[in-house]
Point group: C2
Chain length 202, copies 2
């Protein structure tokens, strides 16, 4: 198993790398959407596929031999850049940008075609992915149990997420959260999260 990795880089270097990787990942997100929605003919699809393979070959000329892992700088800045909920290098991630609002963690995300389950609606499992992540971040811990209640369907588009630790005992954190659209809550979540014995933020 890969471990948490320390990288001795400055905050300027973190910002520089963010500026290099963000546009690349955004272009891959745009491509994912286009791949779902395209109606061009097979020859054009093959031509697009060839361009994609050329891009991949350029990127693979030098690469890490495993997954990204979670890297940290000397001042404790986390770089969970491969994460499928928040990673700035992972095109699967919307990405969700989690901020603090007092004791709560909050995030606003726009979910497009790539997150669709039933027609026009967010896949229930994508709601679960984002809620699991923001609850885990509120707890700085790993999921023990997670219970989700789907109050009503979530339309594709802008959603808001919140999470807050409501109880703490030893290494156990009880966390509650919700996902909502402009009309109100669509999914609630409650979980028990466990702080790892050798602690590292997830």
């Amino acid at each position: 198993m890969r471990q948490f990795v320390f990288e001795d880089i400055t905050s300027e270097e973190v910002a520089r790398r963010t500026g290099v990787y963000t546009p690349l990942t955004d272009s891959v997100r745009d491509l994912i959407d286009a791949t779902i929605r395209t109606e061009v003919d097979p020859d054009t699809i093959r031509a697009a596929g060839e361009l994609i393979e050329q891009a991949t070959a350029l990127l693979r000329a030098q690469q890490s031999d495993g997954p990204h892992g979670v890297r940290y700088t000397a001042d404790g800045t986390g770089m969970p850049w491969g994460n499928p909920a928040i990673g700035i290098r992972n095109a699967i991630a919307p990405p969700m940008v989690v901020t603090r609002d007092g004791d709560r963690r909050v995030a606003d995300v726009v979910l497009g075609a790539a997150y669709e389950g039933p027609p026009g609606l967010v896949h229930g499992g994508i709601c679960a992915l984002l809620l699991d992540h923001i609850l885990g971040e509120a707890a700085s811990a790993m999921t023990g149990t997670l219970t989700l209640r789907y109050v009503r369907a979530t339309p594709l588009g802008a959603v808001h997420l919140e999470a807050e630790v409501v109880a703490s005992e030893g290494r156990k954190r009880t966390v509650r959260g919700s996902l909502s659209d402009a009309e109100g809550i669509t999914v609630t979540a409650e979980g028990i999260f466990i702080v790892p014995q050798k602690k590292g933020p997830r």
Copy 2:
């Protein structure tokens, strides 16, 4: 909201389209992995980004004006091709291929760098996404509540999923399932799923 869409096409046409879209989406999945793991210099990253933008422009020359939706043929063959768990046109999906084994639904999936949460481990929310989907498919219904128990961490690599309806009352289906690696179960799931009043498989 988009509705379930009927397309009057033959099973041969479904197979032809599958043959056109599958290699395209696979190339995008490979690109997602390369985007996470690349260590090439900024100029090469920009060159790759330009190729990706060219590919996207080719694909967007003709496209649907919204998400993919879930389409059906005359014989009831579903084409949930934009789905983020199973969609053959959605590069976010591994994709999970769900099959029947008696009353159970089962799937075997290999999860790489794009699904990493803690270092070397599958993101808990990705476990939730795949379990929500296979339980929903077992029930042919939408999620009401879902409870996940993370027995232990799931290493990246090959995983196996199972789900089965254990009780049925009116439109409510109680479904149980699990995710496991070669050593045994890592996450269990139990959910109440609700069959839509105007029924359509998810």
